[in-house]
């Protein structure tokens, strides 16, 4: 049952009807319909998706600056915490690196910074959030956003019991992963059986702090408004 026009199939119109253009009319109509559907989806959902991506990080920021207990207290008091996202541009050795960061302001004072950093782990890329105090002298928190390390082994870097080692570590010397002997102030105990994952995270922290420390000035940072 093909739709037919009752006009002759010879001559110019006949050639048009049998041409590829006419035979593809169904595809063109479908493309139009589907294109409109996709445009509608894009208009309605892209805001939601972008918000999801941002909220994933925003939710973590209070506890990265103040620790879980005080962050919960601030949340229950509905305290106003101003979090501004931005990008910092670091120039070193003829190369430019960009880091996503968040400036946290509470009661009109700078409460700290949260930097997003990433690097290669044992299995795949690892993405972390590092919390720093206003003077960039101590680490106030660490959170692992994304990792695909070995379940049961390297996976353990996501647990607070390992991450909390980073809290109150000073940023003036690079951190070192030590197995068992964690007396030095800049030592991090490795996850049992996952030295490489532990070293990757520590390496990312060291590299980021080395890049960013002392360079968080208005000249290098570009803030953007948060779209909710």
């Amino acid at each position: 049952m093909k739709p037919t026009l009752k006009i002759g199939s010879t001559g110019a119109f006949g050639r048009f009807r049998n041409s590829n253009f006419a035979q593809a009319w169904l595809i063109l109509v479908l493309a139009l319909i589907f294109g409109s559907a996709l445009a509608a989806v894009q208009v309605n959902l892209s805001g939601v998706i972008a918000a999801n991506k941002l909220n994933e990080t925003l939710e973590r920021i209070p506890e990265l600056i103040w620790g879980t207990a005080k962050a919960a207290k601030l949340a229950s008091e509905n305290a106003s915490v101003d979090i501004t996202p931005g990008t910092v541009m670091i120039k070193k050795d003829h190369k430019t690196a960009y880091y996503s960061l968040f400036r946290v302001i509470h009661e009109s004072k700078l409460a700290g910074w949260v930097i997003k950093a990433g690097g290669q782990g044992y299995a795949d890329k690892i993405e972390i959030l590092i919390g720093l105090d206003p003077g960039e002298n101590i680490i106030t928190g660490l959170f692992v956003l994304e990792q695909k390390e070995t379940p049961g082994l390297g996976n353990k870097i996501i647990f607070p019991v390992w991450r909390n080692q980073f809290i109150r570590k000073k940023t003036n010397t690079p951190l070192v992963v030590a197995k068992g002997n964690i007396q030095a102030p800049n030592a991090i105990d490795a996850v049992t059986g996952a030295t490489i994952s532990s070293r990757s995270v520590t390496g990312i922290v060291n590299r980021t702090i080395g890049d960013v420390k002392g360079r968080l000035t208005p000249e290098t940072i570009r803030f953007y408004e948060r779209q909710l």
Binding site: P3, I27, I49, N52, E56, T150, P151
Partner: protein, 205 residues
């Protein structure tokens, strides 16, 4: 023209006799990739079900307008559109799961199950039969994924979707949630299905 199966037959066939994974050996990529946990497996099965149902319905509606040499283009266009929509919906409303499933949702476009059902069923039968076929095949696919996911997750981590099943002393067989575990589990289950099938047809004949 031979009699095409009724909607009910299509539905029943899709679940076990013509199971897309164990009998037709289609859609193996997600079967191995997302079955390291029960939740990702169920989400993937649901996503494939939604795309399959939508594509079957649309193709069945326009089946009389399909030109023979352009029908693959039409199938591909329809499937790609619905997969994009499902992918966006997942990213908007189930963000964490969308990140876990990662690139395997867009890979539904090249999942042979959907193109095969469009070709075999939707382009030849009415909407009711096409929908029944889609639902049946999706249930079959879901059963297959769930079976593998349960085994891999229980043996690999001792838990299912957060619930501890094995005693705490269970040494998690981590390899089960890694790629080799997927191959081995599926291979052994496929052998089991073949054996059950052979035994039953021996009893009959």
């Amino acid at each position: 023209m031979t009699d095409l199966p009724t909607p009910f037959e299509r539905f029943i066939q899709g679940i076990l006799p013509e199971n897309p994974v164990y009998r037709q050996l289609l859609g193996l990529c997600p079967t191995l990739a997302v079955t390291n946990g029960l939740k990702p497996a169920l989400t993937m099965a649901a996503a494939v079900g939604v795309v399959l149902l939508s594509a079957n319905i649309i193709i069945s509606l326009i089946r009389h307008l399909l030109k023979p040499h352009l029908r693959i283009v039409v199938f591909t266009l329809t499937i790609a559109t619905f997969v994009t929509i499902v992918d966006r919906l997942l990213a908007a409303y189930m963000y964490q799961m969308s990140k876990t499933l990662g690139p395997y949702i867009p890979l539904i476009i090249v999942n042979c199950i959907i193109i095969c059902r469009c070709e075999v069923c939707a382009s030849r039968q009415n909407i009711l039969a096409a929908s029944a076929d889609a639902v049946g095949q999706a249930i079959g696919f879901g059963l297959a994924l769930t079976g593998i996911a349960v085994i891999r997750e229980v043996l690999g981590t001792g838990m299912i979707a957060g619930f501890q099943i094995m005693p705490a002393a269970w040494p998690s067989w981590v390899i089960m949630v890694l790629p080799p575990g997927a191959f081995l589990t599926f291979g052994l289950l496929l052998a089991l299905v073949n054996w059950i099938d052979a035994t039953r047809s021996n009893k009959k004949g």
